[in-house]
Symmetry: D2
């Protein structure tokens, strides 16, 4: 079928490529015309402006937005001014699900159909396919099924879960209509929250392995340094690259994130290209907020989130205050220097 794609960054361009490969017609538009030219060579239909873009799409149109969350509202307003009732507008980016609820209600009043799609796959999606978490009206989502099906990974070589396939379910193809508007990005949000927790679990574990040689190091002996407990049990120089590779096969902790970890550690076990400032991009925060709103405990996901904040320097004043208190009650001067 025909689909229009706005936003030809790494994600958007690769999604167009995957759709073209599956035989779909793609009309593409982007602020910077460079990626339009590239995709035209691969079979896409380029557009020179938003109105040109909309003009090249048959009605009712299907328009997929793959742009930064911050510009979605503005872009939707522009599109609504040029498009027609009955058109489908799809936000495949990283929007907060609450924005989906608001937008869908507003767009519905003008006769537009809105679909929110949480898209996982990153730089690997072109090859592996994109895992799609979809929110919206049933009919609209069904109309887009050929698009979702082409973007998604499909069954692939991944073994079937016992009891599968379920009649009518697309889950094992790697895409799913999760519920009404917002449900797609809600599920994607929690997906990313879990991702934070998983990443932190591996990171802590490998850090413990890396410091398994702590008993071999010279330790300072002063009142401001806790003595190394049981140093004779920490005399291992472990090869993290080899261990990450090992666990990929037959262990309980095997995962795609571990595959990536093995690749990173295999290349440079010291990870010297990195400084350790870990960004966060919103979904982890929203997941923690959701847990709090729901009144359910999420200590692991929030510990992972707070670890990132600390790596960004957000805990600096906390730590200064702790040193200040120690000085007040114990006369302890702050120790200089590292771990």
């Amino acid at each position: 079928m025909q689909i229009g794609m706005i936003g030809l960054g790494r994600m958007g361009s690769n999604m167009v490529r995957r759709l073209l490969k599956a035989g779909h017609q793609c009309v593409v538009y982007n602020q910077d015309p460079g990626p339009i030219r590239d995709l035209e060579k691969e079979g896409a239909i380029g557009a020179g402006s938003l109105s040109d873009f909309l003009g090249k799409l048959e009605r009712p149109r299907a328009v997929w937005l793959m742009v930064p969350a911050a510009v979605v509202d503005t872009l939707l307003d522009e599109i609504v001014g040029l498009a027609h009732a009955g058109d489908i507008l799809i936000d495949g980016g990283n929007s907060y699900y609450r924005d989906d609820i608001r937008r869908s209600e507003k767009l519905k009043k003008s006769g537009f159909h809105y679909v929110d799609v949480g898209t996982s796959g990153g730089v690997w999606g072109l090859e592996r396919g994109y895992c799609l978490m979809i929110g919206g009206e049933k009919e609209t989502v069904q109309r887009l099924d050929p698009i979702f099906s082409a973007l998604a990974p499909g069954l692939g070589t991944i073994p079937r879960t016992p009891g599968r396939p379920k009649p009518g379910s697309t889950a094992e193809q790697g895409y799913l209509h999760c519920g009404p508007n917002g449900a797609g990005h809600f599920v994607k949000m929690v997906h990313n929250g879990i991702e934070y927790g998983l990443m932190a679990a591996y990171a802590e574990g490998f850090n413990i392995l890396k410091n398994a040689n702590a008993g071999l190091k010279q330790h300072e002996q002063d009142a401001e340094t806790a003595p190394m407990q049981d140093g004779e049990f920490y005399r291992y120089d472990l090869d993290l690259g080899e261990i990450s590779e090992l666990w990929r096969r037959g262990s309980v902790v095997a995962s795609w994130l571990l595959d990536l970890t093995a690749a990173a550690l295999g290349e440079d076990p010291k990870l010297s290209a990195f400084s350790g400032r870990v960004s966060d991009s919103g979904e982890g925060r929203w997941t923690a907020l959701a847990a709090i709103d729901e009144g359910v405990p999420a200590p692991v996901i929030s510990a992972a989130l707070f670890g990132r904040f600390a790596s960004q320097g957000g805990g600096e004043f906390e730590n200064k205050l702790l040193s200040a208190m120690r000085k007040e009650f114990g006369g302890h001067d702050e120790k200089k220097g590292g771990h």
Copy 2:
């Protein structure tokens, strides 16, 4: 080659089966003779007593213990009384790595070689192979290579990590000599610690998804209940079984633990067979202890561990004291009833 296996529980018996399939000769012994009979039918050589068992093994013997950690020391003492210098004794169970260090030093004095093997694979090992984390002297470990190689999963269908294979490395076959004695169980311990963190990340995420309908529920309104914040954003009835299946393909959180989660949730999305008392079996505790000894932060793994303690009732008095304090300063009576 020939190997003796003591301890024919689910793990030990299946490991013998995998070794027999690979053409190795297995002499087997167990307290309860039932499993011996079963394995004899499949080609193993049964033994009627420990001395019979040792007598049937050629010297220098290779004896693999697959017994509860609590009985290893006693059993080793018995074996040492009957075996001979030069024999290899392998502990493939869940020993604390510090016990390995102690045992290996003691056994070395009598001329025995000791190898510690952390074994991951659970009930799936027969089919998938066992991921083996090995500690001991280089020569001894090399002598056992055919055994490790047969038990391990091998390359299988798992894609190679870029830059692999590394010359001389067995990691991508699923077994690895990690370091001197204790290193095998140390790496296995951290593996399990990571496992705790991963499991908790999924569990929290799915719990947030399950409670995405919190805004649809009737909430009590009293001074002892925090009002539901933003209830209009929590109106999703999500299908956890479908979502867990979905994420298995193309998502960042795909993993073997997710495969298992999809199987469990697919069978019963309410998990009504379980009460929610989560056991812990030592390794998570030891991992947290190691982080503390090393002076490295492990908030995620320890939060996962403490969550299990709480599920076992270990926090009961803490919570009573919190209620008591609230009563003291605010006159708050404890609210009865659940979530």
Copy 3:
């Protein structure tokens, strides 16, 4: 000066009493007339209706609301319909500071002055005085100074902080103009967040003391129970009531919350009147949300919050899923029974 108080629950009534004692004139109103009668006997001027109440107050009026957060908006609407521009409306309850910002902007348009006051003191305020955290316009707050001064504890017997008093500061009297509207409840919110963390620190510590006899207990030995590590070091039967009393004098952890803990544990060291379901009333949640919005780590406060959620049953499904995963990969049946 004259002030009107609406809402004569435990907090409101006691505040009126404290104001009367300081010589202020108090006009009081309440839905249920009972408390009005009581306070009339102590010198307050009762009102039979909201309009009667407002009629008895001189203009520009000062009206203090001490009602549940959920009814503040409705009540303010009613008052605005009957009162006059220039009147001061004070919310002394537990409102979310964001509601203060919204309300103050709206009321300003009609010429009203709005003040938000976070009030700490609980059932002890009558005797000890109320710690007041105030947000609003400078002039309005200053006009109310006699009221705040009467409600606050004053210097009392608490030793002065070095460098005090600061000219013009009321902080050491126990009340403070913290900033523009919302600042009062913001500071109160964080106060309560800290309170959650402090309470949890004590609760964990006393729980560790209580379980210092763990090595004396019979422990089950099965594959589903982690063996008691180092049981010989946990043979103390400690008297928690005595220890809490002890720490009140000269220790680093002395505090008012510890005073209350000593009272509770002194009365019943087993706290058998409590079941351990710990309520939360909003401020802890909001504090965690603020930390997340600000991008600063708050692992301790959020761990305390999540502990309460767990005590309320919010983690039930998480735990079931953990048990289900353990069953899937290890064939572990869930263990029944307690700690």
Copy 4:
């Protein structure tokens, strides 16, 4: 009565002063003779060597050690070689309680009595008195009662807990016989663990207050920075010094640690003298270990501990690995620069 004190650092010297003031005879010894001279001027009896020290003490001797935990064992060995059965040896420093158990068993065989005393009070003890947590045999502890009573704060101006005094209890005097050997340092250990949690709760809260102006700051807008959520609600410039002073009176979070915080923040609200590297000195670690051994949750105390490890740089590799994973799956380059 007469007592000997070895170790005349800040703690030991001040304890001697407090004992002298109470009329006790103090024989003092120290490696560096400087403090001996000082205390002689104040009435103590100085000793020139360990044997001189022991010779000046009447038998059965009472010898109090106030030396670094690392040298206690060596010193005890020397003393035992020179002293006599029936003498009492007191360790008032920061020993691990497990060392007390070991030492007391060993010393008992030679006829010595051993007492472990956890001492809280820091630089303030001379003035406020020392809170003493005592472990040992009943008779020995009773014999030392005059010493403990003189060191402890006594009732002071702190209000009595309802139901007090308890007959025969010294708790409200600020010292307590907690149990057999090790119990004193065990209770002190948990005291310090609680202290970690309390300190972190305050530090987090004040950090949230400090960042209440986050919405006023310019925020970078790029894919690696989570957008500031609800920035319009974070426009407060709060005076932390004033707020810490405010809470000292009538609030639920009043405590001695808050008194110290108010002093520190009053002097320099930016705490610019500190870098934020927070030391830990062992007891926090041991408290967390105890919780794990006992199987009870301690998420708050351990989060506080792990925060210190992170401030010391212990999480550096964890964070590098997180950045590396993000690069692998999302092509995210690490962002440079601070909070």
